[in-house]
Each structure stands twice: as structure tokens, then as C-alpha cells.
Subunit: 201 residues, 2 copies
């Protein structure tokens, strides 16, 4: 007795089942069987929506990227670059459960993308998006004497590092700690580049 459900909703439900399995048991346990069971469907039914496992996985990762992109795009585009930067960065950090979930799933797939060409394309897309975003934020913020591209790379690395740490040690790298570090960094970006005194003799 099949229910009548928009297939797009079913696909979302299945992708969310992938997320739950990945977070609870790890990506290596996200088999077709386990995901189908998690979603309360049969294997055959799952394969009606996704012709192969890699299609399912690709879609589950795609949903992470799209979700983040949409949330950032929905942010009020304030004229003040400092407020906008603060808002965008607060949106990118894993500060609540929803974003913690996305972050953990993203990390799991990022690792697998090291050896999976199909996932790698998506991972690179996310990387490029975030790097471009950092470029935009930095451009409106940096003080004199700073290299925009290097500052974008630095902010980007800081963000991804904080995300990894938040996943690894949520007890140490708490939301408040993440916010404080990012606030420090933003404040610093606005300062002029200090020319280096030579190493004291």
C-alpha cells in the first residue's frame, strides 16, 4: 500500500537518513541496506529513487552544499561590510544542531573525496564557494598593507579548522569559543599590516 508522496520529498528523507547513519555509525556503514532501514523503506524501494549507491551519496552531499548556500544567500545583505561579515561567518560556523550535523556529514564526505572522484567534484565546489566568500568578506574589511588573497586563504583555513575542531571536540571548541576566535580574527583584519622588525640579534 504505497503512500502518495512527492518523490522529491522521499529523496530528501533518504538523504537525511544517510546523514543520520553517517553521524551515528560512520560513512562506512552508510550502505544501501542500512540507509533503507534507517528511512523505514525496503532496499528495493530506495533503489526506486536512487539507481545506485553513489547517486544516493552524491545527492546527500549535494544537499549539504545547497543548504549552506541557501542559508547564506538568505542573509540580509547589510550595507556595512563588518556586520555582514559577522553574520556570514556566524552562519558558516557549526553553532547549532542543524549546522553541526551538516558539518559532520561534510567532514565525512570530504575525507572520502580524497579517493572518490565523484565526491571530489562536489567537495571542490564547496571549497571554491567558501574561498570565494572569504575573498568577498576580506575585500571589504582589510586594513592597508594586507594581501587580500593571502588573507582570504587565512580566513578560509581558520574557518575550516574551527569546523574540524568543533566536530572533534565540541566540549573544548564550544560555540562561544568559536565565536570569540572569529571575532578576534575579524578585529585584526581591520588593523594595518605591521611591518616586521628584524629578528633581534
Amino acid at each position: 500500500m504505497p503512500k502518495v508522496v512527492d518523490p522529491r520529498i522521499r529523496r530528501r528523507e533518504l538523504a537525511e537518513a544517510v546523514w543520520r547513519v553517517v553521524r551515528r555509525d560512520g560513512l562506512e556503514h552508510a550502505s544501501v541496506r542500512n540507509v533503507a532501514r534507517e528511512a523505514g523503506l525496503s532496499m528495493g524501494s530506495l533503489r526506486h529513487y536512487f539507481a545506485s549507491q553513489s547517486e544516493l551519496m552524491t545527492f546527500a552531499l549535494r544537499m549539504v552544499i545547497d543548504g549552506i548556500e541557501q542559508r547564506v544567500a538568505a542573509l540580509p545583505s547589510d550595507g556595512d561590510p563588518r556586520q555582514r561579515a559577522a553574520r556570514v561567518l556566524a552562519e558558516l560556523l557549526p553553532l547549532d544542531d542543524q549546522r553541526r550535523a551538516e558539518n559532520e556529514v561534510w567532514l565525512a564526505f570530504t575525507a572520502r573525496a580524497m579517493t572518490d572522484p565523484e565526491l571530489r567534484a562536489l567537495r571542490d565546489e564547496g571549497y571554491d564557494m567558501l574561498r570565494a566568500g572569504c575573498r568577498g568578506l576580506v575585500a571589504g574589511l582589510i586594513g592597508p598593507g594586507r594581501d587580500p588573497e593571502r588573507e582570504a586563504a587565512r580566513l578560509h583555513a581558520l574557518l575550516d579548522g574551527l569546523a574540524v575542531h568543533a566536530a572533534m571536540r565540541p566540549d573544548v571548541d564550544t560555540p562561544d569559543a568559536l565565536r570569540a576566535v572569529v571575532a578576534d580574527h575579524l578585529a585584526e583584519l581591520r588593523a594595518a599590516r605591521t611591518t616586521d622588525a628584524p629578528t633581534p640579534p
Copy 2:
């Protein structure tokens, strides 16, 4: 016709076979069979050195941690904290093949540690080690008005973020780019904390 080899060397060889399989095919393909084949041994022989797969994996990760720890410890302990910081950080970044390998293996295991308690203990050990190292470096560097713990967290996140990026995009985040970003960051740490001007009205 068994060769006469120090069993500790065999264990190292097997761990290095794990590394190669992990880098080439991914952690999910580091099965007992594949690792044994990679090392040129039989499954039975591998299991003579490692009673279980998790013991093999644990040892392979342990070797990463110990290797990094030993290389940092072997660094000439210069009196100047700035030179020492530069040296230590250059040692921690994945700038050559050996460290690129360690870094990729570390990332793969870090991801799996999210759902594997045994690996998690090792991962946390690495995390704590690096955080403590950052604390030490920052203490000797920071300018007035800075919070040492927050700066340690920031440097730590920056390092891990750069490591992730170097693994993901070695073409973009080249060794030179990594060095430049870290140099910028170190120079900045020495500057005094700029008190924030309030957001302009």
C-alpha cells in the same frame, strides 16, 4: 621459507602498507586482505603480527603521532621564540612528501574517529598535543592585550585548516602559500591587540 626480520620492522612495514592503501584507495579499502597484499604477505602472516584489524589500524595511526612528535622534539631548541615558532610550524605543515602522507593518513583516521572510540582516543591525543604546542609557541610570541588561550585556539585552528586544505587542493594551497599564511599570522601575533572602534553609524 621465512626470512629473519625484527618483528618491529615487520610491524612498521605493515603500517606503511596501511598508509599506502589509505592514500591510494581510502580507509574503507584498508582491509586485512588488501593491506597484506600491499605488504607482500599473506593474511595469515599479517595476523601473526596484528591479532585484529583494529590493532593494525591503531598501530598505523600511532605511528603517525609518534613520527610527528619525534620530529618536533628533534628540532634544535633555539633560544629565540620567534625562530623556534617558525621552525616548529614549518615542521607541522605538510610541506614535503613524507608529511603530506602523514597528513592525509591523519585526516582519514580523524574522520573515522568520529564514530570509532578506539581511534578517537588517539585522535584526541594528537589534538591535545598540538593544542599544547600552540599554547607554548603563542606564550612566547603574543603582543600585549591578547588572550593566550584564544590565540592558541586560533593558531591551532589555522594549522589544522591549512593541513586540510593542503590535502584537498595541493595545487591551490601549495607549500609556499602555506608558509606565507603562517608567516603573516606569526607577524600579527606579535602586534598589540587593536581595541575595537565601534561600528560606524
